[in-house]
């Protein structure tokens, strides 16, 4: 009951805040969708790249990768941005001092971001489909499960990024690092197979690598559960490691913040 009403309170708060900046939200969505026509034309120029043809061509390959990246970026960015805004106004200190356990405050702070992220994801996939991306064979249940697993992994990454917020007043650097590193390593614009050996190995522990692959194979190829067993297990394992790390990092940095007084840094 308590958890449900707190989750609802965060959701209502963030929807109200986002919809109070209608133009800003529309511009952000427009900017995200602008990638679709760019890659539509790039795909025409690089037609016939062997490694991505299995997914119906470069255009479909990139669009699903972009959608997965947008899902991660919007989810983490909105979560960390919301915490940072609360810290800057002094509301974060009051949220920490409330009767809701801090872990729930963090978890519920992150959830509204994933609703926005889902909108971005759906917008990109929809626009891709309008421009010819074939999703006729999509395995929707697998895609949904993949998205749920990806959400858990990205929430864990968000907790790591949020932990930095408590001890710095310098904005949101970690979520940018996570985004940039993921885009380079996760095979969004090119297949992971083109990465040199060491980077390829690092890519294996990046959640976005497996999330993008799972979404491509479920949405574009209609692969079954058995076909993607390796990717599912990898994403589960990474989440199982990242989630406790994220929670521990937040607890540790919250303690540091309560020691050095940075909880309400402006």
């Amino acid at each position: 009951m308590l958890a449900g009403s707190v989750a609802w309170a965060f959701l209502v708060r963030d929807v109200r805040i986002e919809t109070s900046h209608k133009a800003g939200f529309a511009f952000r969505l427009f900017a995200a969708l602008m990638g679709v026509p760019i890659f539509f034309f790039v795909a025409r120029a690089v037609r016939g790249v062997g490694a991505v043809e299995g997914f119906g061509g470069y255009f479909a390959f990139v669009i699903v990768g972009l959608a997965a990246t947008a899902y991660m970026s919007v989810g983490i960015g909105t979560f960390v941005g919301s915490l940072r805004r609360s810290q800057a106004t002094g509301a974060l200190e009051l949220m920490v001092l409330s009767r809701t356990p801090f872990s729930l405050v963090l978890l519920f702070s992150s959830l509204p971001g994933y609703l926005l992220a889902l909108l971005s994801f759906g917008g990109l996939i929809g626009m891709g489909a309008v421009l010819g991306m074939d999703v006729g064979q999509a395995n929707i249940p697998l895609a949904v499960v993949s998205l749920v697993l990806a959400t858990a992994a990205f929430v864990a990454l968000g907790l790591l990024a949020a932990s930095v917020i408590f001890v710095t007043s310098g904005g949101n650097p970690v979520s940018w690092v996570i985004r940039a590193a993921s885009i380079v390593l996760a095979g969004i614009f090119y297949p992971v197979s083109v990465l040199p050996g060491a980077l390829g190995a690092v890519a294996e522990v990046v959640p976005l690598t497996h999330a993008a692959e799972l979404l491509r194979r479920s949405l574009l190829n209609g692969d079954g559960w058995a076909d993607v067993r390796h990717e599912l297990m990898a994403l589960l394992a990474i989440t199982a490691v990242l989630m406790p790390l994220g929670v521990a990092a937040c607890r540790l940095t919250l303690r540091v913040a309560r020691t050095d007084g940075s909880l309400s840094q402006r």
Partner: protein, 340 residues
């Protein structure tokens, strides 16, 4: 009867920021800044206790330790009978905090929407929250304003909403951290009236008020602690603090052609407890707190005249809380005796 708050040797040290050069040259050094120095206080249930001090004296640091958002470096504190470190959750269940930062809401939401959000965080079901929010908004006089976006509200209204937020859980102990700091005199008076009539008069809550406003402290507080550089240098009721000056005397001197070294000379005279220097009507103005011994006043006047100053005015009166404050905080030796 159990006290509302007890602290024993409560101390807070912050790590000092170091330059890159210092960090590289002396990596093992951890310079610290003493913000609260062994503060021992007992605050009784139902009283309004003031923490009075200059900016940077440590008032907010003390409040933040008592409200569990800051961990003490050493010493102990119990709020509502619960330890602020080991039982922080229980402490949070008996306190309400009203800060001085009127921005600590979400500007895009209305006042009411903000209160509903914080009520949910406090574990209040929506119907219970409405049952608390509506009467409080009406009692505080901001029911209509609470329907407007928070960013459009005046500072006074925002501060009243902060008071409502602090009372959502019907707390036993309310901490007010400089609640009138950024308010105009009319709004400040309205907030003070709310504290004295509603929080204290009607609800009978224990209130801890951090302030640097002497008028506010004198008007609202049953007892006070004067804080200087993290230390409690005096504690008691306003009358008790006044009596610490002995039967002191406030003397306002106007001096023409005042020799530059006169204030230092007077400060060293026996029986002179504090001295302030200013200007008044083209003359130098000296405000002195003296031991209530007319011979001290005679000594001050003689010294002034002998050094070439021309006394153009001299008035004496009973010392006020402001005199106590100045004497204590500018000349700590004047009052650094054991607490009343």
């Amino acid at each position: 009867m159990r006290s509302a708050i007890e602290t024993h040797e409560l101390t807070k040290r912050f790590r000092k920021l170091r330059t890159y050069r210092d960090a590289l040259a002396y990596p093992w050094r951890r310079p610290t800044l003493l913000a609260i120095d062994a503060v021992s206080l007992t605050i009784r249930r139902g009283e309004v206790f003031g923490v009075l001090g200059e900016n940077g004296a440590g008032k907010t640091t003390l409040i933040r330790m008592l409200t569990t958002s800051l961990l003490p470096s050493s010493g102990t504190a119990a709020v509502g009978g619960y330890d602020v470190v080991r039982e922080a959750g229980k402490v949070r269940s008996v306190i309400g905090l009203v800060g001085s930062d009127e921005r600590s809401f979400f500007g895009e939401l209305t006042g009411r929407q903000n209160l509903e959000f914080f009520a949910a965080l406090q574990g209040l079901p929506p119907s219970t929250a409405r049952g608390r929010i509506d009467p409080l908004l009406h009692r505080v006089g901001v029911a209509a304003a609470a329907e407007r976006p928070f960013r459009t509200l005046s500072s006074g209204t925002r501060q009243k909403l902060a008071i409502v937020r602090g009372l959502l859980t019907d707390p036993e102990i309310v901490f007010l951290d400089e609640p009138t700091r950024s308010l105009d005199p009319i709004s400040a008076r309205s907030v003070r009236r709310l504290v004295s009539e509603f929080l204290v008069g009607e609800l009978g809550r224990t209130v801890v008020l951090a302030t640097h406003s002497l008028g506010e402290a004198e008007e609202l507080c049953d007892r006070l602690a004067l804080v200087r550089a993290g230390r409690v240098v005096a504690e008691g009721t306003v009358d008790e603090l006044r009596s610490r000056l002995g039967h002191g005397l406030r003397c306002d001197l106007r001096v023409a052609d005042m020799p530059p070294d006169l204030p230092d000379v007077l400060r060293r005279l026996p029986g002179v407890m504090a001295i302030e220097v200013g200007q008044n009507g083209g003359h130098s103005a000296l405000g002195l707190v003296l031991e209530d011994d007319r011979s001290v006043l005679a000594l001050v006047l003689r010294e002034t005249i002998e050094r070439g100053g021309e006394v153009v005015g001299c008035a004496t009166r009973e010392p006020t809380l402001e005199d106590v404050y100045v004497a204590t905080l500018s000349e700590p030796s004047a009052l650094e005796a054991a607490p009343c």
